[in-house]
């Protein structure tokens, strides 16, 4: 698998992402500086977490207009696989490679804690490390993770099985209006979505931070294992 991790000024979880990929595949991914103009030859482009351009203006806005995003868009048009985590998800929505937008957390505070996700999306390399309905634990760390989209778009995402992950309780219970469960107030408790062709995935929490047995557990590892399996090592 040839993976590349995009680094914008202000990106700060690129090492975490590289570490997770290395654990899953035995190979270190390529780091892609935001001024590069091509991502050709890669199997997978990952946009990691952080505060690209300080997240000033709107989270992800300035990064979405960086030179490399032109290349990423071209890559997407050719059917490329893209994973955006946290700031990466925000960037993908700002770039309109994924629908919707991420607003300030409903409680107005940065949220850094473990949460539980229910795996929902079907037929994607990002979800097939689990069975539909599985629940896994993952850290989250964001200020703007409150997913929103038009009601029509939300219905469409549900109908097409493009809600990848939802916030839930440890036992799998989803409750949209419970701030202890749907921590950031996301529409329909959505934590991650897929593109129409299911090759682009954006999610807010950080499974990459729970992939190492020495660092709290491996609950997030199935995501990376499944990706590696899809492309071969």
């Amino acid at each position: 698998m040839k993976a590349g991790v995009v680094v914008f000024p202000g990106t700060n979880r690129e090492r975490d992402m590289a570490h997770a990929l290395t654990l899953a595949s035995g190979q270190t991914p390529k780091m892609l500086w935001h001024q590069e103009e091509s991502v050709d030859g890669l199997d997978l482009v990952i946009i990691p977490g952080g505060f690209s351009f300080g997240d000033y203006l709107r989270s992800g806005a300035m990064a979405a207009h960086s030179p490399i995003m032109t290349a990423v868009r071209r890559f997407a048009e050719k059917g490329g696989y893209i994973l955006g985590v946290c700031n990466g998800f925000q960037i993908l929505t700002e770039a309109q490679l994924l629908p919707g937008a991420l607003l300030r957390n409903a409680g107005m505070r940065f949220l850094s804690q473990d949460c539980h996700l229910k795996v929902e999306g079907r037929d994607s390399i990002y979800t097939k490390g689990w069975s539909a309905g599985d629940v896994f634990r993952t850290p989250m760390a964001h200020g703007d993770g409150n997913y929103t989209a038009s009601p029509e778009m939300l219905d469409r995402l549900e109908g097409e099985g493009r809600v990848a992950f939802r916030y839930c309780r440890e036992d799998g219970h989803v409750q949209v209006d419970d701030p202890q469960i749907n921590l950031n107030g996301s529409a329909r408790a959505i934590a991650g979505v897929l593109s129409e062709n299911r090759r682009i995935c954006g999610m807010m929490p950080h499974p990459e931070n729970l992939t190492d047995p020495a660092i709290g557990g491996t609950d997030g590892l199935p995501l990376f294992k499944a990706i590696v399996e899809a492309f071969g090592v």
Binding site: P9, G10, N12, R13, R15, D16, H19, A20, G49, G50, F51, F53, G54, D55, Y56, G107, R109, F110, L111, S112, Q113, P139, A141, G143, P179, H206, E208, N209, D212, A214, I215, G216
Partner: protein, 733 residues
């Protein structure tokens, strides 16, 4: 500006009449405004340590593993594998009262610069916070802003905030403490220092542009708060963590080359103190031309540029043949880069602006003749040992009250706003263990870190306050299995011009030194924050509690050995250390009886070391599954905290006959640890062999605390009480 430089202006800049006379003698003429500005900030308490230097010198600062002690931007210790830990703590108390968000944020930004200036990548942030009374009208504003500000800056930088401590007390009304600590990791043979060298070498400015931010911040932070501080408000600086993130990456990239001869962050007193310090440490002169300083605002005066405290800036001396290479790196990161002068052989700092010489001062006298005071110090008689009062409520009720009180309530509301997992190396997150633990990337080693201070003990007896902060920090590192290696400190006190406060300061340092020596635990960096006082409308000043905050760092050879608070599902609980039932200055006395009285607990350094070494050794042998030191709130609070961390309960045997029930459960005797183990017999035997007092507390298991007296408390009930304070206090949920 058409200000006349005279004694009166000097006084308004914070210089006394004698100090101004000294300036006149050094200069042999009336100084220019810029020169007066330079003297006033260099001779401020903040930069010159004029009241504290004499006493700081008595602290233990050496050990075989210390690479750089006090005197550099941060302390540096050897942590093995060719690596070094670089750390320091710094206060931003006054700015955090005026504008809590920006004050705290720029405090975090400043301490991170101190660490990466030395070539280390910051890998963890901690903080020590002291807020006013939770009932006080203004406290919520301060808590809200400070916590947001710390998170806002650290989260954006991508440096995990992994630990800290928070207390509330009315003595901090109007004068909160925000002490921020950063730990970084560097290759031990690639440490960068500030001493300039090489006459003719370029002096380079990088980072953000200079604006009129925080002019006279260094002198302001050494002035008591009063109503006039409101008129000084526009001097608050706004932090730009994004620029700092670029700055750290650019600096580390540059430091991987051989371009840098010396480097110094621009902190308090900005360009002045960085230029003066670099040149004086290197015993060279320095010529600056301010026309070349990147400026954010039009028509800035030399005086303003020299004193500006704009954030996110650095000063460096580069090898001339590497200057272009360096420029390219900073251009890549879209940061300003400007050659603003060069080193000279004159031994003077010369500042030019628009063709005029605005300052020309001999560096020798500026440093050597800086005032240094041996201020009178008086000690109050420490209070007598408390005659313990009777228990008015019973231990169950007392426990419920204590764990719900502001000082013992769960801090998860705070740490959930700090990114504690970024970088992917956090082994023990906030709340998981007595010290936070991060892995040293690429190794199996861990760093254990903590901040500690118990100001109420220091208020009663400042010597014990200083000593206890040291031993508690040492204990917290030990309780994870790590070997404590060194400390940084932040000495927060009132006005040193008050002999009783000076006495507190001197005694606290004495206690710290004593503890450091006994535990082979040197102090390698630190910060002094004096004049933490508020003046009320009636003109009365009141000082904060003496708060010598300790930050400690230890090493764990293998993170797999680290233990935290969470108990396993079964096994036994043991108590290491002796219990006398010391209730003086205890939280039980304050929260249950409403009294802040008596002598603080006694400290026995031999017992501390013996008990701690025993516990650490047993953790490393895998005999201990969970460990928690006994501190605020005493034994029962420690046990309850372990139960809440794991959701597992335990059965607790009755107190020993020779002690009263509440003194046993809530006394704050030192040198104690609660441990969970499945090898109780073996541990008891080994403790006996080592001369370590140990006793059985009870069996782990179930979902409640079950007392031998027949009562029980559900762990989930305790958790709910423990979690309630912050959201209620902040009016959320």
């Amino acid at each position: 500006m058409s200000l006349t430089v005279d004694g009166e202006l000097a006084r308004s800049f914070g210089l006394t009449a004698e100090e101004y006379d000294k300036v006149l003698a050094i200069m042999g003429r009336t100084p220019s405004l810029t020169e007066l500005g330079i003297f006033s900030v260099m001779w401020s308490e903040h930069c010159s340590y004029k009241s504290s230097r004499k006493h700081l010198k008595t602290l233990p600062t050496k050990a075989p593993w210390v690479i750089h002690g006090p005197g550099e931007n941060a302390g540096v210790i050897d942590i093995g594998d060719g690596l070094a830990a670089v750390f320091k703590m710094e206060s931003h108390n006054h700015p955090s009262f005026i504008e809590p968000y920006q004050g705290a944020a720029t405090g975090v930004g400043g301490i991170m610069r101190d660490v990466f200036t030395m070539g280390a990548r910051p890998v963890a942030n901690l903080n020590a916070l002291r807020f006013g009374d939770a009932e006080h009208a203004d406290t919520r504003r301060v808590v809200d802003g400070v916590v947001r500000g710390i998170g806002g800056y650290g989260n954006c930088m991508g440096v995990p905030t992994v630990g800290g401590e928070t207390n509330f007390h009315r003595a901090y009304n109007g004068n909160p403490l925000v002490n921020a600590m950063t730990v970084g990791i560097a290759q031990k043979d690639r440490i960068f220092l500030s001493a300039a060298a090489g006459v003719g070498n370029p002096v380079v400015y990088v980072g953000s542009k200079t604006g009129r931010d925080g002019i006279h911040g260094a002198t302001m932070s050494s002035a008591e708060f009063d109503d006039e501080s409101s008129s000084k408000r526009p001097t608050v600086q706004v932090g730009d963590p994004f620029t700092e993130k670029l700055l750290v990456e650019a600096c580390l990239e540059l430091m991987a080359t051989d371009a840098v001869i010396s480097i110094q962050d621009m902190g308090a007193a900005g360009l002045t103190s960085s230029a003066v310090e670099m040149a004086s440490k290197g015993e060279v002169g320095i010529d600056l031309d301010l026309d070349d300083v990147p400026q954010r605002e039009a028509n800035m005066l030399a005086y303003e540029m020299m004193l500006s405290e704009s954030q996110e800036r650095m000063l460096m001396v580069l090898r001339p043949d590497r200057t272009e290479q360096a420029r390219k790196i900073f251009e890549k990161w879209e940061l300003d880069f400007a050659v603003i002068g060069h080193l000279s052989d004159t031994g003077r700092i010369t500042v030019r602006h628009k063709g005029n010489v605005e300052a020309d001062i001999p560096l020798g006298p500026l440093a050597d003749e800086a005032p240094i005071y041996d201020r009178p110090a008086l000690n109050k008689e420490p209070p007598a040992y408390l005659t313990p009062p009777a228990d008015p409520v019973g231990i169950e009720k007392a426990l419920e009250t204590l764990i719900a009180s502001p000082d013992l309530a769960s801090r998860s509301w705070i740490w959930n706003q700090y990114d504690s997992t970024v970088l992917g190396q956090t082994v023990k997150r906030p709340g998981a263990a007595d010290a936070a633990i991060i892995r040293v990337e690429g190794t199996s080693r861990g760093l254990a870190m903590t901040t500690d201070c118990t100001p109420r003990y220091g208020q009663a007896d400042p010597y014990v306050g200083g000593l206890q902060a040291v031993v508690e920090a040492w204990r917290n590192v030990t309780a994870t299995g790590a070997q404590p290696l060194a400390m940084t400190d932040n000495l927060n006190f009132g006005s040193p011009e008050n002999p009783y406060i000076m006495g507190q300061f001197v005694q606290a340092i004495k206690g710290m030194g004593e503890g450091g020596r006994a535990l082979d635990f040197p102090i390698v960096s630190g910060n002094v924050s004096l004049y933490n006082e508020t003046r009320s409308d009636t003109g009365l000043t009141s000082a904060i509690l003496p708060s010598p905050v300790i930050g400690a760092v230890g090493v764990l050879d293998d993170i797999a050995q680290a233990v935290g608070l969470a108990m396993p599902e079964d096994g036994e609980l043991l108590l290491v250390g002796e219990t006398w039932g010391e209730l003086g200055q205890s939280l039980w006395l304050r929260e249950i009886c409403g009294r802040e009285e008596g002598a603080p607990p006694r400290i026995n350094l031999v017992a501390e070391r013996r008990n701690g070494d025993f516990v650490r050794q047993q953790i490393r042998q895998g005999a201990i599954k969970a460990c928690h030191d006994v501190s605020d709130g005493g034994l029962l609070v420690a046990i309850a905290e372990m139960a809440m961390a794991s959701g597992v309960g335990c059965y607790l045997q009755a107190h020993p006959r020779e002690l009263s029930m509440h003194a046993y459960w809530f006394g704050e005797d030192q040198a104690r640890y609660v441990i969970a183990t499945s090898q109780a017999d073996k541990l008891m035997a080994e403790a006996e062999k080592a001369g370590v007092p140990i006793r059985r507390l009870g069996d782990v298991g179930g979902s409640d605390l079950r007392f031998a007296y027949g009562t029980r408390l559900d762990v989930s009930h305790l958790k709910a009480l423990n979690n309630a304070f912050f959201s209620r206090f902040m009016g959320e949920g």
